[in-house]
């Protein structure tokens, strides 16, 4: 038994020396396993106790447990010291240059038109509008005739059309989507049609043959011009992130009656006059009006019971205004030097 107790004492001093000499957290953790683990050296002693005569088991067991506790507490204390020291030294020992590039995923960009579309769609969704789109390849009826633009109507001049060999056309505006909406739904209708449109126009800094429109349609009981103005003010205030001032001027579109141009008080000069607004203080922004009764009728909606408003504006134009883009052709360029400037916007 004495031999056993001596052995325990020996182990105790050996352990203490080892703990004191351990240079690092890792070394201590290794010691912990080697001494206190399931097959550690103290565990061996404890297992050997079973082979002793019953009378000796008590004293030897106690001595072994005392040593185990003592080693454990020394080790824990030392571990604490070393960890504190290591953490104190982290700033130097594990220093990394924060200006070095990390591993990057992503870095892609959403097209600025997509970003603007998302903002507009979110806004209208929040106001209870459905978002619609329709075919790009349209027929004459939906693009023109149902919109009160008969064949040989001079208003067709304003919308130079791409005609296809099969007699169809590329839609010149998103208005055919309105027609389809009214054909397939019953009022009340609150919808915006968003999408690409095509005009057979020579390209220059302000003319594209491919661009994007958002067109709104509301059909309900007693919809009036005041509703139209409120909706458009809300839309433009959201797009430009501030309260905007608008005004209406009479205009003509075959599919609305009365028809208006809506002007926005110039955001660059606050209406004082600058090159952007051609010194007028106002920027012509969009066309709108109350839905023409003939259009309602052509779509199966009774104009005696329902009225509506419609508006349409160029998304590209809004994008250009927001980002100060002076040439619309950049939008279709596919040029990464242009596209990469826009990131994900706020709409991701």
């Amino acid at each position: 038994m004495a031999e056993m107790l001596d052995r325990i004492q020996e182990l105790a001093s050996e352990a203490e020396a080892a703990v004191a000499a351990a240079p690092s957290v890792e070394a201590l953790e290794a010691l912990q396993t080697a001494w206190l683990g399931r097959s550690g050296r103290l565990q061996e002693i404890l297992r050997a106790i079973g082979t002793l005569p019953p009378a000796e088991r008590g004293p030897v067991g106690r001595a072994a447990n005392d040593v185990k506790e003592a080693v454990t507490s020394r080790l824990t204390a030392r571990l604490g010291e070393l960890r504190a020291a290591a953490e104190g030294a982290l700033g130097d020992a594990r220093w990394v240059d924060a200006t070095m590039p990390g591993v990057r995923r992503g870095g892609g960009t959403l097209h600025p038109v997509t970003q603007m579309r998302r903002e507009l769609e979110d806004l209208f969704l929040s106001m209870g509008f459905s978002i619609l789109d329709g075919p790009w390849v349209e027929d004459d009826r939906h693009n023109f005739e149902a919109l009160n633009v008969a064949k040989d109507h001079p208003a067709r001049d304003a919308q130079d059309t791409f005609w296809l060999e099969d007699g169809h056309l590329l839609r010149t505006h998103t208005s055919p989507v309105q027609v389809r909406a009214m054909e397939t739904r019953k009022p009340p209708i609150r919808a915006v049609a968003v999408g690409r449109v095509f005009r057979n126009e020579a390209l220059d800094a302000s003319h594209e043959n491919t661009f994007h429109q958002i067109e709104g349609l509301v059909v309900d009981r007693d919809v009036n011009v005041g509703h139209l103005v409120h909706t458009l003010k809300t839309l433009l205030s959201a797009v430009f992130g501030r309260d905007v001032e608008v005004r209406l001027r009479p205009s003509f579109f075959p599919f609305t009656e009365p028809s208006f141009e809506l002007d926005l008080r110039c955001l660059v000069c606050d209406g004082k006059g600058c090159p952007v607004c051609k010194r007028s203080g106002w920027v012509e922004l969009l066309g709108c009006g109350l839905v023409h009764p003939n259009v309602l009728r052509a779509c199966g909606v009774d104009p005696a019971a329902w009225s509506g408003f419609a508006f349409g504006l160029g998304i590209d134009r809004l994008v250009m205004m927001r980002h100060g883009i002076e040439d619309i052709r950049w939008l279709m360029s596919g040029d990464l030097r242009f596209l990469s400037q826009f990131g994900a916007g706020v709409s991701g």
Partner: protein, 825 residues
């Protein structure tokens, strides 16, 4: 269209009104005035003068020395370069010291050794136009020494109205119409242009009217012809020339200029025929005979079609109705008798003819707006009235020919008095509506609960038909500034979802924000050249009838050419950092021609195209560009809600109605992505020959996903059903096999899965190797197979059985099993 302020002032009392103020009023109440130009300003000090003597300049062949007198002070010497200067002329003279409208200040200077005391002016020098062909010559008898603005008819302002704003307003294509608008807006009296002398002349005419026949009353609602004799043609007085030119027309001669002046005044186009050229004593308004020849007054030879409406005599075509006259029948210098035509031709037919023959004229632009037939006779009389002012010998020689098969029938509209307020959203008293409508020429009477509004003839051809049209009339004159914003109210209903839009939104976010793709937008059209480069069958593309160019003459059937175009545009050489990595995506539609599946019309298929060209991080030898694109296609499909899509070699793909495999696909690096047996996407490397044709450096891979199919797959997907997470540990097992090099790894993985469908919880490829140690034409594939059981920890015995079964399954397929181990911990 341009409007002369002076002219408007003759037609409506505008005393004390500034042109800018009127322009603004018109913009807000009638039609947008896009420009306001003040003419002839800064002419103070320029006076009329007589050229007393013209002698050659002693030192210059092309210059003359003129003696000019203004009546005040001694005559002065002026050097003049104009060829048309002659003794006796009355000219515009600017003395030394004066500043001209262009900003030029005349200084006393020697020109080729001779001192000049001033300048005899041309149009451009007075800011009246761009003409510098010669000096302005005023009519003989013009007083000398007076400011030039009077005789020149300047000091005017020109308002330019946007044509699209008056497309629907036939009445606004002349000054009278705008005068009427200003009269209503400003509450000023109208002054209709006089025709009294012409009427007197007409009523004195005793001879019967020239016979006129109209073949189709729908094509010509009215034809008025006045025969005027005692006519003398000649130059038009400068003041009228100036007026024409200020409004954008050129002076021809007096008889023609007066037709144009009446058109500008009333909006009604006129034509003057030389009476000698009308053979057979009658005029016929008829359809042209197919192939009938006609030479226009500007010398173009046209071959007519039966839809063309013509004015003809017994022998030939005299004019293309409503578009332009003929060379043979026009007035000439020696014309002494004319037929003045004032007609009302059908809008659509005139428009078609003018488009067909490429001759848009001021007349056709007006006729196509649907003119007022009631305006025809007054306009013809107005011509005679003006003619009488300049040619006193002129007189109407025969009764008026007036074929009027479709006379104007007055229309009235019943307007519920509250409709104006209900549509505008503001309170407009009934009296206000009545006042505005009356001022615009509408007749208003109360008929019970409604207002019975009669529409004046000049608004009745198409513009004002419905009560809503009257709402606009009242609203604009009342002023839209009164409209206040009113929030919409109504039931709160959920917006109808649009699944395709939702897909697009999720997919774009994934690609752009997570996977590093840049979104591009491209044209949907391209041409033969790009088809050839990309090996696209050009005949598969729907053609445009009127393309902008041969490079954009057909619609896309794939996104490949768009992605290649953008990849090339962005390749090295731009100096932009990061250009070595190019990942692009585009969401668009491809168009498939009508075929037996959709015989009615072409089909639009929503697609997303992916393009990857990345040379910095990817190993081309291992096909990593292709695999990266494939992996992104799979990631995208998963993000779109397609679970369990799998890629395999597209070579044996049954593409069902996707059509033949694209020819740009690399035969060894291509995949079809299927879900439930349907191909959703194709992805692959670009064939080197195609890359070369595009000048594309390095390796690129393209993918195209058909979103209509994705939508169908997502719609069919059942909701995810919960399965309890495993409670018992899994038992992994590694196995490597040697297979033919083109045996797909996925096929081997399937065998492993099938060896114990219930127990195999996962099969992962962790290595693929060919090279030394592996027989040629074969490769080694190493998988980790994971076994599990929901109800118990697998016993060593069971694991052994499962492993043996897996190995057995591989051997049965003829694969050589290299190693099989429980993986190292």
């Amino acid at each position: 269209m341009k409007l002369s302020w002076r002219w408007l002032s003759e037609l409506v009392d505008l005393a004390g009104v500034d042109p800018a103020e009127a322009a603004r009023a018109l913009t807000f109440k009638s039609a947008e005035v896009e420009g306001l130009e003040r003419l002839g300003t800064g002419l103070d000090g320029v006076v009329t003068a007589r050229v007393d003597r013209v002698v050659p300049h002693p030192n210059a062949d092309r210059l003359r020395l003129c003696t000019v007198s203004t009546g005040a002070g001694a005559p002065v010497e002026v050097v003049c370069g104009a060829l048309n200067v002659a003794e006796g002329q009355i000219v515009c003279f600017a003395r030394v010291g004066l500043t001209l409208p262009g900003g030029l200040t005349l200084k006393k200077a020697k020109i080729r050794g001779v001192e000049s005391e001033g300048m005899i002016c041309a149009e451009d020098e007075l800011g009246l136009g761009t003409n510098h062909d010669g000096i302005i010559v005023l009519p003989p008898g013009t007083p000398v020494g007076v400011p030039v603005s009077g005789p020149l008819g300047v000091g005017d302002a020109v308002l330019e109205v946007g044509n699209t704003a008056i497309t629907n307003r036939p009445d606004l294509w002349g000054h009278v119409g705008f005068a009427r608008e200003l009269s209503a807006i400003l509450s000023r009296p109208l002054r209709p242009p006089p025709t009294a002398k012409a009427e007197a002349s007409l009523s004195a005419a005793r001879a019967p009217a020239l016979p006129v026949t109209i073949e189709d009353p729908a094509a010509c609602r009215r034809y008025v012809g006045l025969v005027v004799e005692g006519v003398r043609n000649g130059r038009t007085p400068p003041a009228l020339v100036r007026r024409l030119e200020a409004l954008g027309l050129r002076s021809v001669d007096l008889l023609v200029d007066l037709t144009n002046l009446v058109m500008l005044e009333t909006g009604q186009p006129l034509h003057a025929f030389d009476l000698r050229e009308i053979r057979g004593g009658a005029v016929h308004v008829r359809s042209a005979r197919p192939g009938e020849a006609f030479e226009t007054l500007d010398g173009k030879a046209l071959s007519l079609v039966s839809d063309d409406l013509v004015i003809a005599d017994a022998e030939r075509v005299l004019a293309l109705a409503g578009v332009l006259g003929g060379k043979a029948s026009g007035v000439r210098a020696d014309t002494t008798a004319i037929l003045v035509e004032s007609a009302c031709f059908e809008a659509a037919r005139t428009r078609r003819a003018s488009i067909r023959h490429g001759t848009r004229t001021d007349a056709s632009a007006r006729f196509e707006k649907s003119l007022d037939p009631a305006g025809a006779l007054p306009a013809a009389l107005r011509y005679v009235e003006l003619l009488l002012e300049h040619v006193p010998t002129a007189h109407v020689a025969r009764a008026a020919a007036d074929a009027h098969p479709r006379p104007f029938t007055p229309r009235s509209i019943d307007l519920a008095p509250d409709l104006v307020s209900r549509r505008l959203g503001i309170d407009v008293p009934v009296e206000t509506s009545v006042r505005h409508l009356t001022a615009l020429g509408f007749g208003v009477e109360r008929a019970g609960a409604v207002l019975r509004v009669s529409v004046p003839s000049w608004r009745a051809t198409k513009d004002v038909v419905l009560p809503e049209d009257l709402v606009e009339e009242v609203g604009r004159i009342h002023g839209y500034e009164h409209v206040k914003p009113i929030p919409l109210v109504g039931p709160l209903l959920p917006a109808r979802p649009d699944p395709l839009r939702a897909l697009e939104r999720r997919g774009k976010t994934l690609l752009s924000l997570d996977l590093g793709y840049a979104e591009i937008a491209s044209y949907v059209f391209h041409g033969l050249k790009e088809c050839e480069r990309t090996k696209i069958d050009p005949e598969a593309c729907l053609r445009l009838r009127n393309p902008l160019s041969a490079e954009q003459d057909r619609l896309q059937v794939t996104t490949a050419q768009n992605l290649l175009r953008a990849l090339v545009r962005n390749q090295a050489g731009t100096g932009q950092p990061g250009m070595g990595v190019r990942r692009l995506h585009e969401w668009t539609r491809v168009v498939r021609k009508a075929d037996r599946r959709t015989p009615e019309r072409a089909t639009e298929i929503p697609v997303v195209g992916l393009g990857v060209a990345e040379r910095e991080r990817l190993d081309d030898a291992k096909g990593e560009v292709f695999l990266a694109a494939k992996e992104d296609v799979l990631a995208l499909l998963a993000r779109l809600g397609v679970t369990g899509a799998a890629a395999s070699d597209a070579g044996d793909a049954r593409l069902d109605d996707l059509g033949p495999l694209p020819a740009w696909l690399h035969p060894g690096r291509r995949a079809a992505v299927r879900h439930g047996g349907v191909v959703l996407a194709l992805v692959g490397e670009v064939l080197p020959a195609v890359a070369r044709a595009w000048d594309l450096a390095g390796t690129a891979a393209l993918g195209e996903i058909h979103l209509d199919r994705v939508l169908a797959a997502v719609a069919a997907a059942p909701a995810t059903m919960y399965r309890p997470p495993p409670r018992f540990p899994f038992a992994p097992f590694d196995v490597a096999v040697i297979v033919d090099r083109k045996t797909p790894a996925a096929l081997v993985a399937d065998e492993l899965r099938r060896s114990a469908p219930k127990a195999v919880r996962g099969v992962t490829l962790f290595d693929a190797y060919e090279g030394p140690g592996i027989p040629a034409g074969q490769r080694s594939l190493a998988f980790t197979v994971t076994f599990g059981d929901d109800d118990a920890t697998l016993s060593p015995k069971t694991i052994e059985v499962l492993q043996a079964r897996a190995i057995d399954a591989l051997r049965k397929k003829g694969y050589t099993v290299r190693t099989a181990d429980a993986p190292k911990k």
